[in-house]
């Protein structure tokens, strides 16, 4: 081994650039693996901490006596037991367990039996098992198996990525050993055994690992930490977890076990690469290694697209890139993966964000985000006017839309006589157009002013025959409450939230209320019909019903009296001026004295969604950068190796008259072939992914629920082109630099030997 280690050390220091390249390759590969493992571990720990903060027990048993709780402490596998007694007399006992038991459920049943805890039979209401925490803490075999399963899935995913990582290490060894083939041949010719040659290269790999592996682990931890900080800066944690809890639980974690797993995987990768390279080197006979420079080509493709486009340079380039088909395929695959990921993640996240906004928009009619409010109930049916005026005065809102749902329906010529009622809406000007869009998916048939001037309703026929009437009978259902009940109702609504008991008050008051129906002839100002294709706020509308829509002035000018003696709580759609006004507006509506209740906060939801999507974007950006780096390094390696391996061949071409320009041109076409092939595959892959997802949406029935993918087949193409252009630029620069470096020696010098 003395000879082998001596040679390995000499080669490392003699070929500093190659050693550095190999160390960088190991560093990159290990960094990605460590970052992924650390990211996964941190996520697991955060989830565990959040779970523990909310439910700090593996098992919680209710209504034990203090003695019973005490008696549990001495039982097998118990870590801590915490007993709590409440004023009402009920108790809860929180138990935390130690790791290492075989089967939790058997153990628990035995505990109930042994300690005589008053369980006649299994009574699920008297205990709660925190299965998630049990799994996170690896309490029993099942938990360990579950976690192992998850780890295996992650490991398979990482191994998949690591396939291209191995390429990096592999090509690094390939480059350095290729340049020394002649020297290895010479060593063999003077008596070194093939085993010794393999050992030299393997030892070299191991020695480079001493520097590469720790650096890779540190790089991985560093980049995982950076990704973690960036994702947190988007506010994603506070979106899902209360800020105080988030601060305590969302922290960065490093696992020695995962670090060891990364290191071992990296080490095995390096050894395999070094050993594989060694085995390849010894297959070349010493004489061949000493005398020949180029590889033996047994078969070439006669025709190629590159040849047709770029002539003889294209033909040569096409044959050259296919001299090592396995490497060509792997490099193209890793580049394809990188381009597809880069383009599809962006497109998917963009579309998911748009789709989420659309879904919110369907409820609110605004793509800016509105706060859906409702004024509290009042004995004055027009009391909401003050609430709206006050909201306007705040200056936080640029538009305040409003609709009131009245209990009235048309009763004419067979319309609505089967008991199904259409709805009656009184809409204000700000909300008039969005109202039609949101509810019926169409533009209003006349302007708000025209509707007001007509003094009538717009009849909207839902999946039935259009209303061909100028006038119709309308039945108004009025409800009149006693003063006592009105007071009770006001109290119910005063705190903004209605619980089950309060709802009972509302229902009983409704039953006691006096009902008065009024029939009145109303004018039909316009009529529209919508069909199945319309998809409004309430989904596909019921067949045969007719909605009537009128301006709010009609309600305020007298219609309100037909509905009873209390204010209908209208829907108020308040659109905030800007994000800066949002906090103030939120504070305003949350104060009970302003007598307004916040039902749905689309602005807040948008902001939360934005935080989530920013988090996803940042996280995927880090992954993208890593994968792009791997693809780029692979591409650069394969291009450079290809040129270095053909050093003497290129020299002989120059000897028979190839100019430097022609040489550069050929090399650029080679780069182009990698990039174009990868780009084409990426486009195909992305289209297949989109088609697959669309098929999934249809097969799972999500399409029937109105979920549409909304991604154009060629939407990822611009991003793929951008990524391809970057890859092309990097590979071209690398190949031109390599060739330029080669040109420093005369062709005849390069012709003489390969190193």
């Amino acid at each position: 081994m003395k000879f082998e280690s001596l040679m390995a050390i000499r080669y490392i220091f003699k070929q500093k650039r190659h050693s550095l390249l190999t160390i960088i390759s190991i560093f990159l590969a290990l960094s990605l693996m460590t970052a992924l493992f650390t990211g996964y571990y941190t996520l697991t720990c955060v989830l565990r901490e959040v779970n523990y903060a909310n439910n700090p027990y593996h098992v919680r048993i209710y209504d034990l006596t203090k003695e019973q709780a005490e008696s549990i402490k001495s039982y097998d596998h118990i870590d801590t037991v915490e007993f709590k007694e409440f004023i009402a007399g009920n108790t809860q006992t929180d138990i935390m367990l130690k790791k290492g038991m075989k089967d939790f459920l058997t153990w628990f049943q035995q505990l109930l039996k042994d300690k005589e805890l008053g369980f006649e039979s299994v009574d699920y209401d008297r205990y709660d098992i925190n299965m998630s925490l049990k799994n996170y803490d690896l309490i029993d075999d099942e938990a360990r198996f579950n976690q192992l399963q998850l780890l295996c899935i992650l490991y398979v995913f990482i191994i998949f990525i690591a396939m291209s990582l191995r390429m990096i290490i592999d090509t690094a060894f390939e480059i350095s050993s290729k340049e020394r083939e002649r020297q290895f041949g010479m060593l063999e010719s003077i008596g070194a055994s093939p085993k010794q040659i393999v050992r030299i290269i393997t030892l070299e790999g191991l020695m480079l690992c001493i520097v590469g592996v720790p650096l890779g682990l540190l790089g991985g931890i560093g980049s995982a930490w950076l990704a973690f900080r960036s994702v947190l800066s988007s506010g994603i944690a506070e979106t899902f977890i209360a800020p105080a809890l988030a601060k305590r639980t969302v922290t960065f974690h490093i696992s020695p076990m995962y670090l060891a797993l990364s290191a071992v995987t990296g080490l095995v990768w390096v050894l395999l690469s070094a050993y594989g390279t060694g085995m390849r080197v010894i297959k070349i006979s010493p004489v061949q290694a000493i005398t020949s420079g180029g590889g033996v080509v047994k078969k070439v493709r006669r025709r190629s697209l590159a040849g047709l486009i770029f002539g003889w340079k294209g033909k040569l380039a096409s044959r050259n890139v296919r001299r090592q088909p396995k490497r060509f395929i792997i490099t193209v695959l890793s580049l394809t993966l990188s381009l597809s990921l880069y383009s599809s993640v962006e497109v998917v996240v963009d579309n998911a964000q748009i789709a989420t906004k659309k879904m919110i928009m369907m409820d609110t009619g605004s793509d800016e985000g509105v706060m859906l409010l409702s004024p509290n109930i009042s004995a004055d049916p027009l009391a909401y006017k003050d609430t709206v005026e006050n909201l306007k005065k705040t200056g936080y809102f640029k538009a305040i839309g409003m609709d009131i749902l009245g209990t009235a329906r048309l009763k004419e010529n067979g319309i609505n006589t089967d008991g199904r009622s259409g709805s009656t809406y009184y809409v204000n000007k700000d909300w008039y157009e969005p109202f039609f869009k949101v509810n019926y998916g169409l533009e209003p048939p006349m302007t708000y002013e025209e509707l007001e001037a007509s003094g009538g309703f717009i009849a909207v026929s839902l999946n039935g025959d259009p209303i061909d009437l100028k006038e119709a009978n309308c039945l108004y259902f009025g409800k009149y409450y006693s003063d006592d009940d009105l007071k009770k109702l006001e109290k119910v609504y005063s705190d903004g939230e209605v619980d089950e008991d309060e709802f009972k008050v509302f229902r009983e008051a409704g039953e006691r209320a006096e009902k008065r129906n009024t029939e009145k002839k109303v004018k039909i100002a316009a009529s529209v019909k919508i069909d199945d294709s319309a998809f409004g706020r309430y989904g596909v509308p019921a067949e045969g019903t007719v909605d009537i829509v009128a301006p709010i002035s009609m309600y305020e000018n007298g219609d309100y009296e037909l509905f009873g003696n209390y204010s209908y709580p209208p829907n108020i759609y308040a659109e905030v001026v800007d994000n800066a006004s949002y906090s103030a507006a939120l504070k305003y509506v949350e104060e009970p004295k302003h007598k307004v209740e916040l039902f749905f906060d689309a602005v807040g939801l948008y902001q939360d969604m934005d935080a989530v999507f920013t988090g996803i974007r940042l996280g995927s950006a880090f992954l993208n950068i890593f994968i792009a780096l791997i693809a780029m390094v692979n591409l650069v390696n394969i291009i450079t190796t290809g040129l270095i391996n053909r050093k003497s061949e290129l020299a002989s071409m120059q000897c028979v008259g190839m100019t430097e320009g022609q040489l550069y041109g050929m090399s650029i076409v080679e780069c182009l072939q990698f990039v174009i092939t990868a780009a084409v595959f990426s486009v195909i892959l992305c289209i297949l992914l989109i088609i697959g997802t669309e098929a999934f949406v249809h097969v799972t029935g999500l399409a029937e629920d109105g979920i549409k993918l909304g991604i154009g087949y060629f939407e990822p193409v611009p991003k793929i082109l951008l990524g391809s252009a970057a890859a092309f630029a990097v590979s071209t620069i690398a190949s031109l630099l390599t060739l330029r470096n080669m040109q420093k020696t005369e062709p005849v010098e390069r012709l003489r030997s390969v190193d």
């Binding site: 005398t291 020949s292 180029g294 590889g295 033996v296 080509v297 047994k298 078969k299 070439v300 003889w312 040569l316 044959r319 050259n320 001299r323 003497s648 061949e649 002989s652 071409m653 120059q654 000897c655 028979v656 008259g657 190839m658 100019t659 430097e660 320009g661 022609q662 005369e746 062709p747 005849v748 010098e749 012709l751």
Partner: protein, 228 residues
């Protein structure tokens, strides 16, 4: 009429103590159509001389004129064009392009020049080289003798001013060597092709019109064999 003129050609490798003079003030001329053999012991500077004549290695000093043109006054691009049009190089280890077929290797200099290969000439040459049946074979599918014939074909295809052969038979058995030499001889005779052949083999040298002996970077002997 002189085709090639070499004047005070010097080539030095290394610096200071490590300085080695591969060629030291070498001068001679070669008339058109002459077949010249350059012999000498290993390290005497034969190959260096050949490469400098061929425009693939630059001299430290001195001049090379081919057909009245100063070879090294040209820039790199023109030097490459000069190599592809004016020089045909034949190497001991053939130096064929492994991804190109025999036919493509032969026509490569012309293709690089952006010219369409003359089909008639190609057929004649393939027939002459006995490669018609092997025209679509890759170098790895050819024997050593066949590979060298491809290499000769490549050198001859553009009808260059001079063909330079660096030990063209050094890697071949005696039968193949004889065939190659016959080919070169015929080419010289039939097309009045100027040739410079570097060799260790005295028998090969004796088949040439003139023999120059090089030793330690100097011409120590220059004789006409009297064949023509």
């Amino acid at each position: 009429m002189e085709l090639l003129k070499i004047e005070d050609l010097c080539k030095t490798y290394g610096k200071g103590e490590n300085e080695v003079k591969a060629l030291d003030k070498v001068s001679f001329t070669v008339p058109k159509g002459q077949m010249l053999a350059v012999i000498g012991p290993s390290g005497s500077g034969k190959s260096t001389l050949l490469h400098i004549i061929g425009g693939v290695d630059r001299p430290t000093s001195g001049k090379v004129w081919l057909d009245g043109q100063d070879v090294y006054e040209q820039n790199n691009k023109n030097l490459a064009i000069f190599r592809r049009r004016q020089v045909g190089l034949i190497y001991q280890f053939y130096n064929l392009i492994p991804v190109l077929s025999a036919e493509e290797n032969i026509t490569l200099p012309m293709i690089m020049d952006g010219r369409k290969p003359d089909k008639e000439r190609l057929e004649k040459l393939l027939k002459l080289l006995d490669l018609t049946e092997r025209r679509d074979h890759l170098p790895s599918q050819l024997s050593g003798g066949q590979q060298q014939r491809v290499s000769i074909g490549r050198a001859m295809f553009t009808s260059p001013g001079v063909i330079l052969a660096d030990e063209p038979t050094g890697n071949l058995d005696s039968k193949n060597s004889a065939e190659i030499m016959e080919l070169l001889r015929n080419s010289n005779r039939d097309f009045n092709q100027t040739m410079i052949i570097i060799t260790h083999d005295e028998n090969i040298a004796l088949q040439c019109d003139r023999i120059i002996t090089v030793s330690d970077g100097h011409i120590v002997n220059d004789v006409l064999t009297g064949i023509n």
